[in-house]
């Protein structure tokens, strides 16, 4: 994919949450809070300035069919172009960028939210994504897929499980310095390794707990962005890919979806050596091993190297390449299809120098990578920069 002829920047960001439960706000009120912050941050009046809205949501998570019809009012988007992606929030970002690049709008909002606490049988809902003939009759909890992949990952890369546990310790400690995080904690390696087994070798502490929250961004065409703000964060590259999904013969090792998505994003951004290209990374860590597997798929280190790298402290804030300074999904909570936008939010705040006590000094470029979650093989990548 070549670079788009149109520059696109993130000119506003807003959020609500994140918390394990949020009974005080309906999903509409949660979206209104996040949208109000994002529009105020961008200095726009959505009724006057907004050309369109892209959201990412899944009807089965909302508990409402055709749930995208429920979004315009609380987003200031009544009678405007509204477009919904059934996918991760980063895919909605890509759709928003393409709308601007195609000339369909100058200012577009991107939204995704999670009311995971409202889905009383979330695991069974996830299980509905399994094949009804080959897999569902086995009545297995879908977390087994993580166990299958985790085991292959440990075997093929020779990564010790202690290195995977280090990801949990790091991310939940990072979350201690993040007011958005739902699950900050100061854990030891033993806490992680000895927590309740879920799908061996996966323990409960290695799996991100779901959380409620909403994230909204305002995107603008380059010339408009320059008139709105001097804190624009520029989208330099985007890529997304879906691998063959069958559990019976999918690739169990290398997260090929993210490798492919990253190659496209790097090509677009003109990046040849990703390892030296970024000041920080926000990457999907729905399961602790996923952070390591994804770092390798992103080409930030060689296969099997991410664990040692983590154990040596290279991915801490203050290390060679900070990974998930926000605390990731493990620390912030898993926001279902809003997870990618939660990763993006931290990267945007870091590049604006607004990350407070977890600020990576002088951050100028960031890499964001998401995964659509179990049982998918879909990932998306965004390359961000303080310069256009």
């Amino acid at each position: 994919m070549r670079r788009w002829n149109t520059e696109v920047a993130i000119v506003g960001a807003g959020w609500s949450g994140f918390r394990s439960i949020s009974p005080d706000l309906s999903f509409r009120e949660m979206m209104f809070e996040a949208a109000t912050k994002a529009y105020s941050d961008a200095g726009i009046d959505p009724r006057r300035d907004l050309d369109g809205l892209v959201t990412a949501e899944e009807d089965f998570h909302e508990g409402v069919a055709i749930s995208d019809e429920y979004v315009p009012d609380q987003m200031g988007a009544v009678l405007k172009s509204v477009h919904t992606i059934a996918g991760d929030g980063l895919q909605a970002l890509a759709a928003g960028v393409m709308q601007i690049a195609a000339g369909a709008g100058r200012i577009v909002a991107v939204e995704s939210h999670s009311k995971a606490s409202n889905v009383l049988n979330l695991d069974q809902i996830t299980a509905l994504a399994l094949d009804p003939v080959y897999q569902r009759p086995l009545e297995a909890h879908p977390i087994f897929i993580a166990g299958l992949e985790f085991r292959r990952y440990l075997e093929v890369t020779g990564t010790p499980i202690e290195h995977v546990a280090r990801v949990v310790v790091k991310n939940r400690r990072n979350a201690l310095r993040n007011p958005r995080a739902a699950f900050p904690a100061d854990l030891t390696l033993e806490d992680v390794l000895h927590s309740e087994p879920l799908a061996e070798p996966l323990t409960r502490a290695m799996a991100a707990d779901p959380a409620d929250g909403c994230v909204v961004f305002v995107l603008a065409r380059g010339d408009v962005a320059r008139t709105l703000t001097d804190r624009a964060v520029w989208i330099r590259g985007l890529g997304w890919a879906t691998d063959s999904y069958t559990l019976e013969n999918r690739d169990w090792e290398g997260a090929r979806y993210l490798r492919q998505a990253a190659e496209r994003a790097y090509r677009q951004a003109g990046i040849q050596s990703p390892r030296r290209a970024f000041d920080l990374v926000e990457v999907d860590d729905t399961f602790a091993y996923k952070e390591l597997q994804h770092l390798e798929a992103l080409g930030l280190c060689r296969p099997g190297e991410a664990g040692r790298w983590t154990a040596e402290g290279a991915t801490e804030v203050g290390g060679e390449l900070p990974v998930n300074p926000s605390g990731g999904c493990l620390g912030e909570g898993h926001l279902l299809e809003a997870s990618g936008l939660a990763r993006l939010l931290e990267a945007v705040l870091q590049l604006r120098g607004e990350a407070g006590p977890r600020q990576v000094p002088n951050a100028r470029t960031a890499l964001v990578a998401s995964w659509r979650g179990l049982p998918t093989t879909t990932g998306a990548v965004a390359v961000l920069s303080r310069e256009p």
Binding site: S22, P23, D24, L25, S26, F27, R28, E29, M30, F32, Y39, D45, P46, R47, F60, G63, P72, D73, Q74, G76, V78, K115, S117, N118, V119, L120, N121, Q124, I125, L128, P132, V133, R136, P137
Partner: protein
């Protein structure tokens, strides 16, 4: 003339009963507990008390029902709670002879949008009309757009904070 474009075999009840057809069943179970939040929460609490409430936007001066904490026209928070009447005007209606699960109804139902007195024009709630007849013809004879109606409430001890705390609206 061939009845079907593609060659096909019609399935008979015996084919299922005698096990010649393989099927798989997965019940679709979705359990949700939607957070009511501020606006819906207050609306339901007031229903339990036998009242209808709306929210007013100071800028466009509309009173909205069901209430919401934001004005979708002005994109700003709404400002005040407004107590409404339990009377109103039929904005539109239909006489429905099938139930939601596709059963044929002996006595038709009359879903209607009722513009509530005290709210802005066109602001109403969706409910059913009652005491308007037993047959299609009877109902169409009595009900018309613009009909004045009033809520018939459940007795207080039976109310549970739900839209069904109003049994139906009847002509006044």
């Amino acid at each position: 003339m061939e009845p079907w474009v593609y060659p096909s075999i019609a399935l008979k009840q015996e084919d299922f009963e005698e096990g010649r057809i393989r099927t798989t069943r997965t019940p679709l179970r979705g359990e949700y507990a939607w957070d009511a939040g501020v606006a819906v929460g207050r609306f339901l609490a007031e229903l339990k008390a036998g009242r209808l409430v709306g929210r007013r936007c100071r800028v466009c001066r509309r009173v909205m029902v069901p209430p919401r904490m934001f004005c979708e026209q002005c994109f700003r928070p709404t400002d005040t709670w407004v107590l409404l009447q339990d009377t109103g005007t039929v904005l539109t209606f239909s006489v429905c002879t099938v139930a939601w699960d596709m059963r044929r109804l002996e006595v038709p139902e009359v879903p209607a949008v009722i513009a509530i007195d005290g709210a802005s024009p066109g602001m109403g709630i969706l409910h059913k009309l009652g005491e308007v007849g037993q047959t299609n013809d009877e109902i169409l004879d009595r009900v018309h757009i613009g009909l004045r109606v009033q809520a018939v409430w459940k007795p207080p001890h039976q109310r549970e904070g739900a839209i069904t705390d109003i049994l139906y609206f009847r002509p006044v």
